[in-house]
């Protein structure tokens, strides 16, 4: 029973989201149990499918291929998402070990907070124009995930207010600053997971998903530099990048409701 082809959105997705989205779009009668037994033809236990949709377990490759058939699309993109989630799971596990943190926290969903914060900041005009709180809330909710909960949006808004990134007067809000600094251990881990997800997706798009190769840019620039000048180099790099990002964000065609994509530009630089 192939479902209608599903339109791509630019919301960040893990493999769990594809399972959930496919089931929900087939109709409200498709419970987890019915979807597992009828649509996926018993290839997965309903309880296990529930875990997959919640991000508590990762599906195997055969199940992802079966889902791609249900969606009526080639499996390569979904398989790449599965690989990325596996890498993130392993990265999150090792990161917690490196930071001496307990292992009972969720792995794949760790990056959610950082992703939501970036969407909340980018949903406000760069020039400090006032927008309605309701419009801003709606934009965050539609950007961060199709099944975003009200609590998720409230959490992002409270955090951005607390950090002085937004200013609110009555029912209007505007940006006050642009740079979010992860301070608590939980925020730092969430940000590390988000950065790892961006890097993993860039590499996989370039190497394993031919139709997405052009949407990623991966390049290593190298040089010899006096150690004392490294801070100056980073300062100039940051200024150049900020100017470039603001130039393109100001383009009237960069309307999130039209053809605009959400582009992450991850900069990493280190000595060897």
């Amino acid at each position: 029973m192939p479902a209608k082809p599903i339109h791509k959105t630019n919301a960040p997705k893990g493999i769990r989201d594809f399972f959930y989205e496919t089931r929900v779009l087939m109709g409200r009668d498709f419970t987890v149990k019915r979807f597992a037994t009828e649509v996926l033809e018993g290839a997965v236990d309903p309880v296990m499918l529930g875990y997959v949709e919640k991000g508590k377990r990762l599906p195997n490759e055969a199940l992802v291929r079966r889902l791609a058939r249900v969606r009526g699309e080639p499996p390569a993109s979904l398989i790449a998402v599965l690989y990325r989630d596996r890498m993130l799971y392993a990265f999150g596990r090792e990161l917690r070990r490196a930071l001496h943190e307990p292992a009972d926290t969720e792995g794949v969903v760790d990056a959610d907070l950082a992703v939501q914060v970036s969407r909340g900041v980018a949903a406000l005009p760069d020039d400090g124009e006032w927008v309605t709180v309701k419009g801003w809330r709606d934009e965050i909710a539609s950007a961060i995930r199709g099944k975003a909960k009200r609590a998720d949006v409230d959490r992002v808004i409270a955090l951005l207010r607390e950090r002085g990134l937004v200013e609110q007067r009555g029912m209007r809000v505007r940006r006050a600053a642009k740079h979010f600094v992860a301070s608590s251990p939980n925020e730092r881990r969430a940000l590390a997971m988000e950065f790892a997800a961006i890097f993993a997706k860039s590499l996989l798009d370039k190497l394993a998903v031919p139709e997405s190769a052009a949407s990623s840019h991966v390049r290593n620039h190298y040089l010899h530099i006096d150690r004392a000048r490294i801070p100056q180099f980073y300062e100039k790099l940051e200024k150049s990048m900020r100017a470039l990002v603001e130039e393109f964000a100001a383009d009237p065609a960069a309307d999130p409701k039209k053809t605009a994509e959400f582009l992450n530009v991850l900069i990493t630089s280190t000595t060897v």
Partner: protein, 208 residues
């Protein structure tokens, strides 16, 4: 449609055009320090020294370079709330927080200050706590004197202690209270982590 209505419509369309552009931002593990409380928090959290607007903010024990030599201030660690007795007739309870300076030049002058949090306001400690620079021999423990004016309820209060280091001289017009430590115009500031002060009742015991 009159002129005012046309003008209103044009403004609304212009606002929509502006709002249609996407915003941008960034996130990271560190960023430019924008305020003194941020500098203090970063220094005390990371156990280091942080420069902000011509003043260096340091955590207890963090070495700071003065010429070719390093110097530091170490605060005495207390295991529990510091007792803060209030004598009859005193405006508040009084306690002291010890610190040990090392490596500062002879000409340096150290003053004490305290606040309820790193956000201030900061109160200069009593003149008795002014200590000479600790260059050369004879390094000794010194104290920052804290007088809590409102110590009536006996509940422990958090305070943060600062040692202000002047490498040359203290400005003549230094205020007694300043919202920010840099209002005292020091060269270097050492800030303690939060200390609990427990007002205790010598007066109350005498009344029993």
């Amino acid at each position: 449609m009159n002129f005012a209505r046309v003008r209103k419509s044009l403004i609304a369309i212009a606002a929509l055009v502006v709002a249609a552009c996407g915003g941008s931002g960034s996130s990271g593990f560190d960023g430019a320090i924008k305020s003194e409380p941020e500098a203090i928090e970063k220094a005390t959290t990371e156990g280091t020294c942080v420069d902000f607007k011509d003043t260096t903010y340091c955590a207890s024990g963090a070495p700071v370079l003065i010429g070719d030599d390093s110097a530091a201030v170490d605060f005495d660690e207390s295991s529990g709330p510091l007792p803060c007795p209030q004598l009859p007739g005193d405006p508040g309870c009084t306690t002291t927080v010890g610190f040990e300076p090392s490596g500062f030049p002879e000409a340096a002058v150290l003053l004490g200050a305290w606040a309820e949090s790193e956000r201030g306001p900061w109160t200069l400690s009593s003149v008795d706590s002014t200590v000479p620079g600790s260059g050369g021999e004879g390094d000794e423990d010194d104290d920052v004197v804290v007088v809590l004016p409102d110590a009536g309820d006996g509940e422990p209060s958090p305070v943060v202690i600062a040692v202000l280091v002047y490498l040359d001289a203290v400005p003549d017009d230094a205020p007694a209270v300043s919202l920010r430590l840099r209002g005292f115009e020091p060269d270097i500031v050492y800030v303690s982590s939060e200390v609990e002060v427990a007002p205790s009742g010598l007066r109350n015991e005498a009344e029993r």
